[in-house]
Amino acid sequence: MTMGGAVDDMTDFSAPTLTEGIAQVVEVEGNMAWLVPESGSSCGGCSSAAACGSKGIGTVSSRLEARRFQLVNDFGLRIGERVVVGVRENALLRASITAYVIPLATLLISGALAQWAAGNDFVTMAAMLAGLVFGLWLARVRAGQLMAKGELSPRFIRRASMGETCNS
């Protein structure tokens, strides 16, 4: 995922607020930097949280590796540096709607229509499966549109200060 390097004007109070997180630079390739988010869970716990229940599930390193992302390195980032990145809050909402609400809505609507038309559990289950597949296809199309607008891309905000965590 290639990220734009624009920094929001923080004096513009009418601008949508950003959800911030801390990421570490793990690789620099020419003008691009690869980053891995520090957050290991959605509870806000990160490298500062020694005891996190979600850390036992799967391998944390592989999950973080899967969430690697790229930023345009206009800021001279070096390997090992920690930076604060952010996405717009409404982008999180749109991403959640795209990933979960669209497939769920098509699943439920197709199931309701099948139940009303056939009234048979097998037919309803098959219709719901078809609805889910259709919803996932719609979600893919919508995600492509959001990505083309750059709404799913984290932005560089600033370098993280020493000892800064996502909880501070």
């Binding site: 995922m1 959605s42 509870c43 992302f69 991403a95 959640s96 139940q115 289950m125 995600a143």
Partner: protein, 192 residues
């Protein structure tokens, strides 16, 4: 149609998963410090609970019941839920890697969310048919998301409030949660 509407109101409000059945309390306290994370977690949980309710009903009706294996239901449902979460994670990753990067953090938390297992066990014990089980799972998870978002909004305000030092943070959160539970008791008696 009326019984379906009552089922939805009952599962979402009267017998709310968090405030009446006291399930999913770890995510209720852990993920509600901000509204955006509560919304993300709520939507992911809604999807997973609905899909796993359907799968759990099918496994119960076509595998456990015919072979008289009900004593294995807890273990079986845990496996079905884990499979549903993995399916969701893989699907989101395949459908859109950027979406996965943004939302994938919520999915591992859902595997250990007892609300998902609780809803599955409730729907088989109440001998629901397929469409009732799906609606029950969906409505329960909508109730879960509703409470998560409400509580996250309250906690965001509490973070700015002038709270006595001893009550700051989780203690005042627990007090607010208990008041919220009392408020939801007002729904009791609407449906069974």
């Amino acid at each position: 149609m009326k019984e379906y509407a009552l089922l939805i109101v009952s599962a979402a409000l009267v017998n709310n998963v968090i405030l009446a059945r006291f399930l999913g309390l770890c995510s209720f306290m852990g993920v509600t410090t901000r509204i955006d994370t509560a919304v993300g977690m709520g939507m992911a949980t809604t999807f997973v609970i609905t899909v796993s309710s359907m799968a759990d009903w099918a496994v119960g009706a076509y595998l456990l019941e015919p072979y008289n294996l009900w004593y294995l239901r807890t273990v079986t449902f845990i496996m079905v839920i884990a499979a549903a979460v993995q399916f969701t994670e893989l699907t989101v990753k395949k459908v859109s890697p950027p979406l996965f990067q943004m939302l994938g953090i919520y999915l591992p938390l859902i595997t250990t969310n007892c609300a998902v297992l609780g809803v599955a066990i409730l729907l088989v014990e109440q001998r629901m048919n397929f469409i009732e089980a799906t609606l029950f799972g969906f409505a329960s998870s909508v109730g879960y998301s509703l409470v998560m978002v409400m509580f996250a909004g309250l906690r965001e305000r509490l973070a700015l409030a002038d709270t006595p030092r001893l009550f700051a943070g989780p203690p005042i959160g627990f007090i607010v949660a208990s008041l919220l539970a009392l408020a939801f008791m007002g729904f009791s008696g609407m449906t069974s």
